[in-house]
Amino acid sequence: MKPLNGFDLLRPPTLVGALEMMSTLDNSMPIAGGTDIVPTFRDLGSKPVHLIDLGLIEELNGIEEEDGKVLIGPTTTHAQVLASKILEEAAPALHDAARWIGSAQIRNRGTIGGNLCNASPAADSAPPLLVHDAQAHICSLEEGHWIPLQELFKGPKMTVLEKNEILGGLRFTPVKGAGSSFQRIGRRKGFTLSVVNVAVFTQRDGKKLKEVRIALGSVAPTPIRAPNVENKIRGRKMNEELIEEASAASIEEARPIDDVRGTAEYRRDMVGVLVKRAMREAWRRAGGEL
């Protein structure tokens, strides 16, 4: 195969160093695990790209709890997410999703920030974070700011990040009496992109859904929340009829396309199936019975 070409690699040890490079160098691009982007470096344009490797910056890596929030560094690998007791407890959907990203080799190398910034509509990290109401920290040499994760995605393979900005972190607030679930369908079981993926978050008030959030992946230009469905079922008594209703309503929210991995029709049907599975599991994890 054609050799890699058209770039150089800079490895700043600090975040400030990386941000300075991003803002001063023409044609710069951050790289973390590289699992999505390295194979694309065979057909870069004639203008050399300055890759800014975030791998040495310690403050961008790891999972911690602080002031009632869970913080996830963008260069945290999928293997780290999978090994995290904090996330297994506070965001089971995200923990489960990490299992299905890539292969063992990819999970050891690929990062959660890379998965999000690559902005694939099928990114498995996205629906779980969306239902946990995660926020993304936008970093530049100016003061950083937090945005709802949903706003990071602009379209397929597009984020709102400006040329001098990087995703500096993710955060969400763990909720007591809540549970979440991630469900996906791929063309085979392991090491495959999702044809459809779904995450559901439920919080219980006795037998009622105190809070419910639904996110759908690979059925729109970006991963999406389904607020119309959430509003329809929030506060109501949880049972199989409600699950059927949410499933049918979710199908209406999906705007899938036909592509090599599946048809729009199949995706719509599978959204219905996965929403049911995810609602049941999220509810059980919240301590509820059906």
């Binding site: 058209g6 590289g34 890759l51 890539g102 063992a104 392991g190």
Partner: protein, 154 residues
């Protein structure tokens, strides 16, 4: 200049950023057990251990292993666990063309280093990034179960 540890030895290589770890190992250092397959991180033939974790060397840029420990099957020739795995692979007919074997052995080695009693499902998860086009996986999975039993008979 990239300085890293390869199979226990300190090495220095003149390698540009556009060179992958895979090419640095095969072309510059002559480590031929690391195979070049898809060059997209899909097939696992180029798997190496970086600080003990299996990764596809085709997706790693040479300067990114500065200061890290890289291990290939050559570095585990005398390792007791790898020896059991090798023998189990041979006895169970888990090798045909051999192209996937070094990567497969490293993925299995990483699994058994962490988990001495893996289930069949855990083995499948550990090797899902290693494609074999000859034997069809059954003999490979049996070999890994077999090696696990030999190293931890209880």
């Amino acid at each position: 200049m990239v300085n890293f540890e390869l199979n226990g030895a300190d090495v220095y290589v003149e390698a540009p950023a556009t060179m992958t770890l895979l090419d640095m190992l095969r072309v510059e250092l002559g480590v031929k057990s690391v195979k070049k397959g898809c060059e997209q991180g899909e097939c696992g033939a180029c798997t190496v251990l970086v600080d003990g974790y299996p990764m596809t060397s085709c997706l790693i840029l040479a300067p990114q292993v500065e200061g890290r420990h890289v291990c290939t099957v050559e570095g585990l020739v005398d390792n007791p666990l790898m020896k059991e795995l090798r023998e189990a692979f041979m006895e169970n007919g888990a090798v045909q063309c051999g192209f996937c074997t070094p990567g497969m052995l490293l993925s299995a080695y990483a699994l058994l280093s962490e988990n001495r009693h893996p289930s069949e499902e855990e083995i499948k998860t550990a090797i899902e990034g290693n494609i074999c086009r000859c034997t069809g996986y059954v003999a490979i999975i049996e070999s890994i179960l077999d090696a696990a039993e030999r190293i931890a008979p209880d």
